[in-house]
Symmetry: C2
Subunit: 408 residues, 2 copies
């Protein structure tokens, strides 16, 4: 290895600009995470696997020692090193951390209590860390949350709908996640801010810079009360790949994704695809069939196992598993209890009921998702789903498991 | 009975205004159908049962002779006679037939080769007959056909979409059925006429009168090349009940129903409900969520087992089981063969394939419907569906059977 310094001293020195009071272990851990973040592009599953298996410190030590990774095939190992090694630069890491310190960007890792665990649903594609401007603690408050996304070239209709949905949802306590872009994203962020709600902008480039530049003021406003975050280190430019990977992050961080307006081949369909693949809620807002801006949302609604047709904030709440807001009610009422309530319920409700409660008649969910919602082990859930299927109480299709509606 | 004359002579005299060359048997049959039509309101299932069981002639003879109907309970029998007897009037029947003769309205019964057999899917609620102005022979050409229906108070958007869909579909040889009303119905009929296609107006009152009166000219134009039909006798006023029953007739006559625009409680949702109940194709056109005229169509799309989201004529063709029109192609290409082609196929394709072909991944169908489409016996089909279900190839839900899409 090129003499890269993996010592605690180097870690402490690199982290000095962030002015944190770190233990040796923490400094080392955080430094190696920052290094990994520098080495890999978002979604690099080889890195995800070795880091998940060995931890970032040990994985980096092996990389530096050129000792093969048992987690990878020889070919994967060789390809990965070719990708990673040229990017190993102490200078790049210290530059990143200096920018982070100067711009108030925090590094949030899996060791942080505020780490949004829903990101781990991405498996080996999960981000190494998040670089966060703003209220990092609010990361822990994004379940439920809704991604409101859509075309940059929004129509007046799309802009209006994005504002109305975001204002109503954020105003009632549901965080609104988006990508900080022109068009639908910007409308959603602005409306959430105006409503005094929490909003999260996930950027494709470094969290310290506004992209697009025309949204510098908006993104500063978001950071002032909400969250601006990225998985790429400070100083990174947004690239096409990073935009696509940022989309997966939006989908994974949010409980549900709602596409407000999207052309036939819009990037928002990519976000929607990630949401569907992750078993997250997915909704799309219909519009005039004469509007190209609604061609993509209609495509989502039409396709088998497709998106819920969203026509109101209450439709979004339903997608989130929340009861419709009563008029004058300040916040959403959970339909099913939270984790604590579920645990308490164990004595009272049987497993069948809990699996049923974790299913929807409209949205297919895979067994992992059902297990997560039911607070049960996946194999327990799979067996239960099999039984319920025999009874005709549940259906399984390409989009996963769903309740059979008895009165259609 | 009140001296009502059931003789052949009376039948011939009553039918004289229509100037038909009828055998004694035909004259008697048609006369008793016309009488039944006078006695009952549309959808009277007690009448449907006794006429289906005994035939109209024998059923009327028993009614006249006050002999009980074995098909009805004593209570049903008594209630039915109370409904029917006060309406028994030779004068009313001859008036109806005189108007029919004067206005060129034909009586089409189940004995006519042009009788649209899809109406018999209504079972005991099927109409006794149809009173038809225009090209009665075209009744036999309505499979496939599409009902294009919607709000009377259509928006400019709804009007445009109805016109575009109807013109494209009718122009490519798919008959357009509707209700002759203001708004969407009128737009659909007009566009179909302009495109030189076949269009059918089903009226809630007598076929000889235009309702609404403002559509007198339009309805005359429809009768000139297409069909204006009603199940109630000439001289009957449209009533609320008859409008609702007329909606069931639109749904039953058409292969699929597409709702273009509908308020939250629009009558078009009633037509849609009939289409769904009959296992017919059902589609709805999305629109701006800010438009009250699209609230009903979004409701149809959203509801479980709901309507297909229709954004183009090709979406309607898919609903009809037809392949998308190629550009420059004069007419639709059947995706599955017609009845004759299916019969020919018997040697080549096995029953499983035929049952699969009769299913859709999107629209649930009941076993009767599947059997009809497959040209197989219902119990044969039910057994096959059970096997396919075990294989996971089909799903069953509240809306019936559908294909499991393997690649969602």
């Amino acid at each position: 290895m090129t003499g890269f310094d993996l010592s605690v001293g180097a870690a402490r020195a690199a982290f000095a600009p962030l002015g944190l009071d770190l233990s040796d272990e923490e400094a080392l851990y955080r430094h190696t995470v920052a290094v990994w973040c520098q080495l890999v592009e978002p979604g690099d599953s080889a890195a995800g696997r070795v880091v998940a298996s060995l931890g970032p410190v040990e994985a980096l030590a092996r990389l530096a020692a050129a000792s093969p990774f048992a987690e990878l095939t020889a070919r994967e190992d060789s390809d990965a090193r070719k990708r990673w090694m040229p990017r190993l630069s102490a200078r790049a890491v210290s530059d990143t951390l200096r920018i982070a310190g100067a711009r108030g960007v925090r590094l949030v890792t899996r060791h942080d209590p505020v780490w949004p665990q829903q990101l781990d649903d991405l498996g080996p594609h999960a981000p190494m860390c998040l670089w966060v401007r703003g209220d990092a603690a609010a990361l822990a408050r994004l379940d439920p949350s809704v991604a409101v996304v859509g075309a940059r070239a929004a129509s007046g209709y799309g802009d209006l709908v994005a504002r109305e949905l975001a204002a109503e949802l954020a105003g009632s306590g549901i965080p609104v996640v988006s990508g900080g872009a022109y068009g639908i994203d910007g409308a959603a962020h602005r409306a959430a801010l105006s409503a005094g709600g929490l909003t999260v902008a996930l950027l494709a480039g470094g969290a310290e810079r506004a992209y697009p530049a025309g949204h510098t003021q908006l993104i500063d406003h978001i950071a002032a009360t909400g969250i601006v975050a990225s998985e790429v280190p400070c100083g990174s430019a947004p690239t096409k790949w990073r935009f696509l990977q940022r989309n997966r992050l939006i989908a994974a961080l949010s409980t549900a994704t709602v596409v407000v307006e999207a052309g036939w081949r819009s990037g928002s369909l990519n976000t929607a695809g990630h949401a569907a693949a992750l078993g997250r809620g997915l909704g799309a807002v219909p519009g005039p069939i004469t509007s190209p801006g609604s061609a993509g949302t209609h495509r989502l609604i039409r396709d088998y196992g497709g998106a819920a047709c969203i026509t109101s904030p209450d439709d979004v709440r339903e997608l989130l598993g929340l009861a419709a807001a009563s008029r004058g009610d300040g916040g959403p009422t959970p339909r099913a209890g939270g984790a604590a309530e579920r645990a308490e319920d164990r004595g009272r409700t049987d497993d069948t009921t809990r699996v049923r409660d974790a299913l929807s008649a409209r949205i297919g969910r895979d067994a992992d998702d059902v297990a997560r919602r039911a607070g049960m082990a996946v194999d327990e859930v799979q067996a239960m789903l099999g039984l319920l299927r025999l009874e005709g109480a549940v259906l399984v299709g390409a989009d996963g498991w769903r309740l059979a509606a008895l009165h259609g």
